[in-house]
Symmetry: D3
Subunit: 135 residues, 6 copies
């Protein structure tokens, strides 16, 4: 009896899209206004979903208080009110597109979540754009 349990969280961050190995003109051509060298930013809304068997004793797939604390320590604290490009190590060499941010969040959470649980990341970059990654 498998159930998916999801928890919403959020962080506000600056970023820009660019590749250091490309010219300014090439970055501008490919990434447009997202390439602004002075940065722009978003309220990222994050949904962390875990799927697994319901524990017949507690009725929980996972204790949401524990999941909430993990999201806080692993994602919200290192990402919130930060510049993703300059202050989150993974993005020093990786373009912080919504796709790549979702993958980085997945990779940070995967090791600290029970391996019997499937993990899925949904990340809203804006209320109109979002991405999903399941590993």
């Amino acid at each position: 009896m498998k159930v998916t349990v999801s928890r919403k969280a959020h962080f506000n961050a600056a970023h820009r899209l660019f590749r250091a190995d490309w010219s300014a003109a090439k970055n501008e051509e490919v990434f447009g206004k997202c390439n602004n060298p002075e940065f722009h930013g978003h309220n990222y809304e994050l949904i962390v979903s875990v799927r697994g068997e319901v524990d017949p004793v507690t009725g929980y797939v996972v204790d949401l208080k524990i999941l909430k604390d993990l999201i806080k320590s692993e994602i919200e604290e290192p990402f919130d009110h930060k510049n993703l490009n300059t202050q989150v190590p993974e993005f020093k060499t990786l373009n912080p597109t919504a796709e790549n941010i979702a993958v980085v969040i997945f990779n940070r959470l995967r090791p600290v979540i029970d391996q019997n649980l499937d993990l899925k990341i949904t990340l809203f970059e804006t209320p109109r754009n979002f991405v999903e990654y399941e590993g």
Copy 2:
């Protein structure tokens, strides 16, 4: 040509998380403030999704008026403005976690929905926590 059709509904209910066969201290340790013996409550927002072939004559997978009425009679009327622990029979011996509530809703709707249709329950316990169950 399979399409998934979803209908939103809602009910407001009181509940507490606990096991009658555990001590108060053990319940408190595991369920924290959700174990308040005086109960707390939620506006549960429910999404019932059915998936099946589009009827080439009507263009419907299911008549949403019929689905809406089924959700009303099978779920909203017995759950709305109720105490789940004391007034919904399944939870007299089952902890009313979001996971278990979703399973109970699925089990109540499954027999009254065409067996050719897949059924999925999404249940928001709060705007920030939700669960999904597909049987």
Copy 3:
């Protein structure tokens, strides 16, 4: 140069509508299913709005971190995961309608917020019903 600044918060609670000095029949007649003696509950979504001059030095009407902490200590901690009727003192003798809850929240926050600031409470009892109170 007056600006209104608003902060959202939330608490989940059980309640019932009734008057101890009325018969069960009278309570049932007036309050209908909201009078369920076993309680029901809601995810109350709260908006606290303060209006005042923008401080020309900081650009703040109020430091939202301070407002957030006040809402947490004065409202969220005493109300969240509680039974309003039995565990929040004001409602031992006051019917916990949305109207009265908003007034109680106002009365709890008014003394701890700068008297130069106007205060307004918006309280969603459900996503479809809400009340506003300005003192």
Copy 4:
């Protein structure tokens, strides 16, 4: 490393549900108030989701500016502020249920989106009813 990328869009349109080969009485019986011969209408909210490999060079599955422009030219311009029954060719012989509208949107977008990408359409007919189609 596959990621799903989604973009929201919207269009406002009139429609009615009916079959030209049925009597008025039969249409009324099956489609009820949705069969109003004078039409009614909706704000359709559309989510277009594409799933594929993240390009290791750009960090994109798809350039959302390009996807946004495709949705605009293929769906928003021909559907927005239109009468679906009389002004969108597919519905001259097809009942414009939410299910059929989602299929038509899929069929219009599928040829113009990279065949290496999976496509999924989610269409909200109202904030309470929605459908999903993946081909």
Copy 5:
């Protein structure tokens, strides 16, 4: 002790903007795509707000069940799944802009709501456009 109490409702309708005493060209020039002679439509989301003294006996400004029923009989039933221009009498000679629809709703509700209560109508024509009218 005055509190404002609000209730949300909704109706789906077709409409077009035009004046019968203008040429097609003039209508097109002023109302653009909203003038489509084949109609378009919206999911109108309505908020009805009443403001008055909290009854010290019940704790209510108004019984929301009564308000909900009034909105249903006076607005939802005559407007839902209708063509506003051709099936709602006021709009046979009045352009059904969001502004005018809000005024018409106010004028229909004002006589049936206690004259000691202030009334305010908020009408969302789309999730992005809305109007407010207080008489």
Copy 6:
């Protein structure tokens, strides 16, 4: 017969809170994580409301197409995907708090909107924090 008409818009931007005439320590003490020298960012959601007489000829307070275009040229284009501190002139000497951003938006729109219309700005910095300014 005065009606308020509102239009939603949005822009994504980077910012930091600080005063150039304060030490880093003082900025850190007052503005906390909002003072991050590497910037952070938000999806600002903007509501522009205008209040005035309904034109008896058109049924409009204002043509929303014109209002939408004004918001685009005066606010969205100069603010979207920008660094407010370094790329929007007003904030070179003004701390870009939500309060000050709302005032700047008001000051940019006031001259281009009919002086017979009242203007109000509502600005969501996050889904949980917002400000309102009416001049």
